[in-house]
């Protein structure tokens, strides 16, 4: 058995062991993913028509996000209320009803049990009404559909807090989006190493930015006490456009450079970005202690011209995904952080750290210290005690 993890006293340090400890991972699934947090599972644009659905994992629990015949979006456990069989296997599609193939129980898109053959021989008092698909608490913000398995999760607006404005900005302002498609990938990394490094980080990593003479504009970073992080920044024009044979790829067609970049990083690990003309929700799922699956879903705005949609497809495909011109390096860092975390000791945050005894919320655009309120929240949530000896 591993020695218990000691959480250091200094708030700018985190134990590396938290990225690799399998027992801790199991506790996180229960405490965080099955616990009192909202988890974004879909955007309305992915399931825009009645009967449209998408399957996802909420922690380990399979769920169906379904647009009912009545136009209401609900989230159900993807498990037959009879013997627990997984009801739907497709990642997305459109159904008139969900049928469990085992005993042919059939559920309406609003979850009600419609058909259960042979029910005259079922247990005394069997009532179909009590056997609808089990529905989770659901809430929506700018079309983003959240669910939680806990009754204790605060209302969504409260939970989002200060990050709400940035999130709306990242989702096109009003959330009226159109799905363009997906890039799906697994990273050999603990979910926390993914979330700690996906939202925003020092531009030093990105050689592409430098070669393009591409400096970020003025911006801000706003952490919330419950682990979210919001970034807003300008985008300055690219200086060395001639570095590319096809600079049209990096044009700004729909975006005011003053509000060029909006990134909302939601606890525990969903990232929503609007960078240049790319509107992207990164739906992440922890698969195991050392594997995280990310579905990059890309969107256009419902009012876009055909030409603008085409531009968004080109830019989204090539710029910020798992082999994007600017972001491929990120993915390699997730993996390397994970490998490095098997060594003893703590990882230390430096840039922007002003004191060791409490986390600060006054952080500058490129400060590493913006991640620390999230770590402080995680530390408390998981019941770690800060210790002098670590």
């Amino acid at each position: 058995m591993n020695a218990p993890i000691q959480w250091p006293k200094a708030v700018n340090e985190i134990p590396k062991a938290i990225f690799t400890d399998a027992e801790l991972y199991e506790r996180e699934i229960e405490t965080i993913f099955h616990g009192a947090q909202w988890h974004s599972l879909a955007h309305r644009a992915e399931i825009s028509k009645p009967g449209d659905f998408k399957t996802m994992l909420l922690g380990r629990m399979p769920v169906i996000v379904a647009n009912g015949e009545d136009g209401k979006i609900r989230v159900f456990f993807n498990s037959c209320t009879h013997r627990g069989n997984q009801v739907e296997t497709a990642s997305c599609g459109n159904r008139k009803a969900f049928e469990c193939p085992y005993h042919r129980w059939m559920f309406r898109t609003n979850g009600e049990l419609a058909v259960c053959p042979g029910s005259e021989e079922f247990s005394p008092g069997f009532d179909k009404k009590a056997y609808g698909l089990r529905e989770l608490r659901t809430a929506e913000f700018c079309g983003l559909i959240f669910a939680t398995a806990s009754a204790d999760t605060p209302p969504l607006e409260t939970w989002l807090g200060q990050v709400a404005g940035t999130l709306a900005g990242a989702l096109g302002g009003d959330g009226r989006l159109k799905l363009l498609g997906y890039q799906k990938v697994r990273y050999a990394s603990n979910w926390k190493a993914y979330s700690d490094n996906d939202g925003y980080h020092a531009p030093l990593l990105h050689v592409g930015f430098r070669l393009l003479g591409w400096q970020g504009g003025q911006g801000s970073q706003t952490p919330t006490p419950n682990g979210h992080l919001a970034f807003e920044s300008q985008l300055k024009p690219i200086v060395n456009r001639e570095f590319l044979k096809d600079p049209s790829l990096i044009d700004l067609k729909a975006t005011d450079p003053e509000s060029g970049s909006r990134i909302a990083q939601l606890f525990p690990h969903t990232v929503i970005t609007k960078h240049m003309d790319v509107i992207n929700v990164r739906f992440a799922t922890p698969i195991s202690v050392d594997c995280t699956e990310v579905h990059y879903a890309y969107f256009a705005h419902a009012d876009d011209s055909e030409e603008l949609v085409r531009h968004r497809i080109r830019q989204s495909s090539n710029l910020l995904g798992p082999c994007g011109m600017i972001s491929m390096e990120d993915a390699s860092i997730f993996n390397r952080i994970h490998i490095g975390s098997f060594t003893p000791g703590n990882a230390a945050f430096q840039k922007g750290v002003k004191r060791f005894d409490e986390v600060g919320f006054d952080v500058k655009q490129n400060d590493e210290s913006g991640n620390l309120p999230k770590w402080n929240y995680y530390c408390e949530l998981m019941g770690f005690q800060r210790s002098e000896v670590a």
Binding site: S316, G321, S332
Partner: protein, 163 residues
């Protein structure tokens, strides 16, 4: 002139061999040389799930020769030293009978790509189909359009090289 005859098919098969040999060597200039000089020469690498859903987002979306050239620049100049190197072995098999469209040959092939990361063991990277349009360019068959449609719903890692 390409046709549906044995000589043309042998030329097309030779192009596929040049293509996978270039990628297995990670020789990006040789990869680029498998494409026509036409300004509209294109390469797409896209999930079958997107194609089936009528969605156009791709993993790589190079819809003109200039984009193909930029991809080579990024792999060979920009990303150097940032990613863990990996080897690939491509296995390709032409399937079905090609069709002819105004002197262009439309060919479908299955592909299977094995990956061996530096210091690691070998695994499957992706499987899928190439949908290719082949023309004669500078006296040799070259791709006017190549689309790699991968079945692998969730890719096992980040990607550097084209499929």
């Amino acid at each position: 002139m390409l046709g549906i005859d044995e000589a043309s098919l042998a030329l097309v098969d030779d192009l596929q061999r040049r293509y996978i040999e270039a990628l297995d060597r990670r020789a990006m200039e040789a990869w680029l040389d498998c494409f026509s000089q036409d300004a509209d020469a294109s390469y797409f690498c896209i999930a079958a799930e997107n194609v089936e859903g009528g969605q156009e987002i791709a993993l790589m979306y190079d819809d003109c020769r200039a984009r193909l050239t930029d991809r080579v620049t990024f792999i060979t100049k920009v990303w150097t030293g940032t990613f863990q190197p990996y080897r690939m072995r491509h296995f390709v098999q032409r399937i079905g009978i090609p069709t002819l469209d105004h002197g262009k040959l439309c060919v479908v092939s299955n592909f299977h790509i094995a990956i061996t990361p530096e210091g690691g063991s070998s695994n499957l990277l992706a499987v899928g189909q190439y949908e290719d349009t082949v023309v004669l360019d500078r006296g040799e068959p070259r791709f006017l359009r190549k689309r790699a449609v991968y079945d692998t719903t969730v890719l096992p890692r980040y990607i550097v090289y084209p499929f």
